[in-house]
Symmetry: D3
Subunit: 340 residues, 6 copies
């Protein structure tokens, strides 16, 4: 079984039921999620040997995070235990014209306080084929950017393929900080993943003629973005997700893959949203699976987009789908007829 | 009050809440349903004297099935009590491009193990005007096909009108088995009900130019299907539901009725789905009600389709609507304005 | 802080969960709401000093109504305590072609039995800038119409601006009774609010060429309605909401404002409904806020419609939105993108 | 199957979940219950043909009351449909030293407004062996006491045995009113049921040396009460329940039966309470069953007390137990060991 | 109405449902609580004008804390808004021999980061009669001990009576730190409240012959504790709660009050626990109410203990009881009989 | 880490919420459990490397069983996937005098249909120190007794210590069948575990002077039972749990351990029950842990009883406690005081 490692933060996600606003909530659904953890779960659900690396407190709230990953078969044996708190994010689900809202309470989480000595990357990355992280991880600050670099250097030594989802978070750092730190890490990256805003936010590379809040994207503008990214940092592949947000309930969803020479566009899905958080991560999970299984470029982008299309129909951060389910959709059956 | 009897299996339906996948469910909504039981509830809700006949264990899980029917006024006094288990089906509700999924656990249910001596049809069908069953019932195997035939013979003797919903279930039998058994029972049937796939699955009668997973149906192709069915088995009426599945959330819904000479198409509804399981059964219930009340052919098909259109907005297998509600929609008010 | 007073009934709202029908409900969500109370909550959420006036029993069910208002910052110190019961309404949420259904159980509520001596309007309206009521309040009968008139006279004396939402309720009175009573109260009103049916129901003033159950409204027909209303009763402003009901899930939503000379139409929103009860009240709340803050006519109608557009995405009678959220939508961002 | 009829009010019971106080409740469990309806459900659960007679509105809230009874096999075909509202009671469950609390909202319910012409007792009581009502029914006022008398006269004519549970409700009438009305009805009664307070409240007949709020009862004092009751009204049997309330969680529970010559005391149970509402009604149900089945006096009181002991372990007004379960406890196994 | 101010932290309380362990929880009940906030709610429920002072972030999670207090009538107008996070505590409810468990996540909460300049005590304490805080507040560190002292000095100037509940929290500071800081604040305190461990933890004053984990307390040993406390710090009154913990479900609960000359012991309650968090705070609330209303010493301690006895039967931190309910129990009716 | 393997069936457990009876349940809590699976979870929670071996279908309901075990760290890599169904048991929780009730629906589960070739015991038991099974496993019939024997022979070869919990299930086999089959397997067993009834049911070895339904056990009678068991089958240790069932809520709980020469009795716990299913399994888990860690005989029985005492306070089949928690109780702190 192919081994993949992802590294980052997993948070406790607290969300009011249904479409209740925070001010109406008497209880919170309590699940766990985070960019790289979500990718690990996707991959474990596809049958890969996926390990997630982070630091989590020893107490029950930290342990529940470990359990959430174990339940879906993620290898948690490399998680460092210690520190005081689990990062939290509060999520209010939007509907119609009302957007979803996230309130972060993640400062001083165990992983954000972690030290370089906590992680023995030579051991962690033993026998590993693929390593994935996102721009959120170095944004945690402290020693975390250095920990990322430590990991990436070992990846280089061991010939491990690396993907990074740029994933800019304005609450964690400024665009300038992001650009400086990410620019140092990008040379280690083989596969760059971004959404329709990230390249602009992190590297000041803009798609032309696009207004994301209008719900309409100019797909051609993203060709240039991908090309510039690849040329600047030497990425072997650049994948960009293209979300057209019609409302909090309805989105268009598609993506583009660039391999340094050709541009491959997926088909577009009109998705009726159950939960869109983790949509980008499920795209990353699908992309990594397809790459590790040597799908063609077109098959790769179709698999990744179909996987993330399905994620939008699933509650929680994690994408709970099988390879068969993704392939069925990628091959064209999106009719939603009952499977008996 | 007109008496109707339906005969078949009622199962315990276990469904995760909302759009949760099986792997995320910590609890299951526990309701009861099954093709013929659903029709009986429809008819009881329309004010008819509807009895459901089956075999159910004496224990509490069997009793809860009886209670579920009694609650809505179905006559359960003819249910045979005995056997070991209640059939179960697990239902995961789909959304957007993700289809609903059913896992059956119905083998060895009390009804599937029932014996011909369990049912005294002369008594059960006393004073009855209409008898309904579906293709699922003989598919249960054992003595059940013979029990069906026993019932049908008594219907013939007593001049009871008979309807059958073909309802092919690939988990219960092969197409060849279905064809053989059903062909023997069809001569007793007056009204044949089928969905857009059943005639092909059971009797190898195909509509031309239709791809059901594309969401687009060729309505004209079904005229030929209905005609062939009527000619082959001598049905007085053939009704075919026409589901155009756009996604797990949105379906087109219409139907056609053939009376041996003319084809009557209902108006089409674009339904936003709450729960589509039991959609076909609610059509059958509406059809039987309309026939028993001597509606015109066009009124009949409009009533049946409006009834089943409303079912798609209701949780559970049972169609919880009144005659007034169906008529209001059939007559054209589908605006959904609040009724105060 | 600007002080506003609203006067009317607040009811216990009992609603089955999700899309369950009454006959399926084993529990009811228990919240509180009512036309004028809903407006008070809207205004408190916008930061105004909003007081709600009514009469509620001293017992726990009455107290829970007080608490529901206090929670959101409404001043409840002017509520008269006494009487026997809290009015109740049962609400079943519709879906697709199935309409929402309301069963009222409000007869003999404490406020409907209230006496003129219960309310010392000189004290209640001290320092108040704006007074709001709806046509539901006088429809409660008994001394309530007289209590309304008492309040309105004091408003006149104190120069308090008055708005009235016509809000015809056929269960409470006939059209003839409504016309007679409302005609007496209208001369005190500065701002008249109505939906697409109210003017016809209460004052027999009809929009031409409109069939509300078809989902299509003839906007021009409402210009004449507004003009006639203004001329008949001397309203300074007339605002009419224009709901185009496609289904129980999807509505078009817009409004028109007439200031005696010009007609201002808002943009139209296609809303995917979470809960549409209180939609009109949230429009009233937005309108009052905009008027009190001297928005331009066009800004006023856009604010009121954006506010009520958002209400449709929120569970319960109350509109839980901030001024910032309304302005963001009114200015054009309805893409529903996640706010992190 | 022996036919029994009970007559009275069935109310919608709205109860916060668990031990939440009214002020904390965001939802209410919605079940149905009422003294005589509870007895009917007990008897249906024991396999008797039990009909409940009342008047309920035609709307969905009334229908849900009918459904609640049908679910458990009660014959609802004699219920008169009409009137405006279903009586409601709000129930907050107590714990430890905090008592349970009931807020009634039952005025003007359909049954309280019923007319003598609504009930054709000759038809209703055809073939009936036993008739039961409680002191709550005549307390509803209006024509209801006369309706009771109408029923009782027909019972006398037909030789139907009659039981009455005195059940004094201070919110419905004064002790003087109760005494006057009940004194007129008692001559028709064969079996009188009372709790440790009723005889004092209704007929001013007091047990000596008992302080019910101390949790200690003087059993001997109740012998005199029973004897006086029997002598005054000519009851053939008098049964008195003896609740020793230690706390809201823990009660002693026993009863005494007097047959005009001997006193039979049941064993005492220390019950750990799940829900004690309906405790007295379940005693009545057990008593009637035992009498109809010609149990000995001692067996009768043991059956009735064991039945009601079990009721305290069951949520809701209804006693959901079988004859076998009651007999098992009455015969001595109260160990609560798991039944596999 | 008498004005009382309490000052401290209010936290978001996240608790699994029922008796689920953290590792089993899929959702958390979300309420708010904290020592001084709990006292403020108690007092507001008794009808006093109670204000709670703290610092809370402006975001929705902070606002929900404000709403929780407003709902029960607490004056929140003096709460300073700002800072980043709301302190959180996770609470797992124990049962039988398994203790309840609290995991704190309160570091860096807005109040713990507050500055002296945030609070204008002259304004806050205007017209106030009573001020209350607990040992938890200075334990928050940073400038909070100084803020406490600022408040206490103003109390002294204005002649406001002051109570302090020692409430030692070992996760917030060491015993040595507590002793040093608290010793400086005690001279401003009139009424000292402590549980059976606090005096030992904070001031090294031990009751003789008591082993709290055995469930048995030596009451006489606490007389000496109270006397020493009063003599050391000049308290006018010392109240000590005496919890005898039999199991997580069953506790003995009593208290002692010392007025400098006499010792007053309350009656003892055997409480069957629903939720014991906030038990001590509800004692403080009862004590303050009784003192402000000039109850006798014996009445005071009985009122405070009865109030807190009832709290153990109520979910959440807040004590939701009325003066009448407390008095009824204090006067001896703990039988838990249903109140209709 | 010490490796332990347990072998048996894991079932889907469907339980109404709280104390609802089956007939009242609208949803079922869905967890997983079974004698040997419960022991595996206990051991994983204690930090051992515990693997559970069974056969489960590949479908989602089977996978959810795997996930339930993985969540708590049980090694599921040896589970054979295949077969059609997951065994189910329905559990209704008892209260007071009403016993808990189990309805089994486990016939034809995947494990009961498993074949000897499905299990490669040499591989499964590689490096294992301890093997555990219960009398339920051979009772499943078919090839399962032979599979057990296959496993036990490999244990013997590898010198793996074996424990067996007799666990008689009357629904699965007769006493005669149990005796015959179990007698063949016992010679491989080192540690025999039984409850107060098992030895009598399986081997006709009776304790004298004990009536289990009376709630009183004669402890001395069990000494003889243990001795006879040890002598008959050559067990090195015999452990017998001693449940004194006072009611469904309250049990006495203790145990005895016999090592062939001495009898060691644990202290007795009066447990207030949250969920007693799995109580015996948690005893087995504690016993195995203590044996593997070379606790003294007295420490061993105290650990096992304290572990299972705590289980009674935890929902579900699994015992969710840590070694520290068990030791704390075993050493005497059962006061249930809050752990902060």
């Amino acid at each position: 079984m192919k081994k993949v490692v992802t590294f980052g933060e997993i948070m406790l996600r607290l969300a009011p039921e249904g479409y209740l606003r925070f001010s109406q909530a008497e209880k919170y659904g309590a699940t766990y999620g985070g960019g790289e953890a979500n990718v690990a779960v996707s991959l474990a659900n596809y049958g890969l040997d996926a390990a997630f690396v982070t630091k989590l407190p020893k107490h029950e709230i930290g342990q529940a995070g470990v359990n959430a990953l174990r339940k879906y078969g993620v290898d948690t044996s490399k998680i460092v235990r210690g520190g005081d708190r689990v990062g939290i994010y509060f999520l209010e689900k939007g509907a119609s014209q009302r957007p979803s809202k996230v309130v972060y309470d993640r400062a001083n989480s165990a992983i954000s306080q972690a030290k370089r000595v906590d992680f023995d990357w030579n051991n962690i990355l033993d026998d590993v084929e693929f390593f994935h992280f996102t721009g959120i991880t170095p944004a945690l600050g402290g020693e975390v950017p250095a920990i990322c670099e430590d990991a990436l250097k070992v990846c280089k030594e061991k010939g491990i393929m690396v993907s990074c989802d740029l994933n800019y978070r304005k609450n964690l750092w400024t665009k300038a900080e992001a650009k400086e730190t990410m620019s140092k890490l990008m040379p280690y990256v083989d596969v760059c993943i971004a959404n329709e805003e990230d390249a602009a936010d992190v590297f000041d590379i803009h798609a032309t003629n696009t207004d994301i809040s209008s719900g309409k994207l100019n797909y051609d503008g993203y060709k240039e973005v991908a090309k510039t990214l690849a040329e600047t940092f030497g990425f072997k592949k650049v994948a960009i997700t293209l979300r057209g947000s019609i409302s909090a309930n309805d989105n268009n969803w598609a993506a583009m893959l660039y391999d340094g020479s050709e541009f491959y566009f997926s088909k577009n899905y009109l998705v009726h949203i159950v939960d869109r958080v983790g949509g980008g991560d499920s795209f990353g999970g699908g992309l990594i699976y397809a790459i590790l299984n040597n799908f063609s470029m077109q098959e790769t982008i179709e698999f990744a987009v179909a996987a993330s299309c399905l994620k939008h129909s699933i509650e929680g951060d994690f994408n709970m789908v099988s390879v068969d389910e993704v392939l069925k959709l990628a091959k064209g059956d999106g009719s939603g007829r009952v499977q008996r």
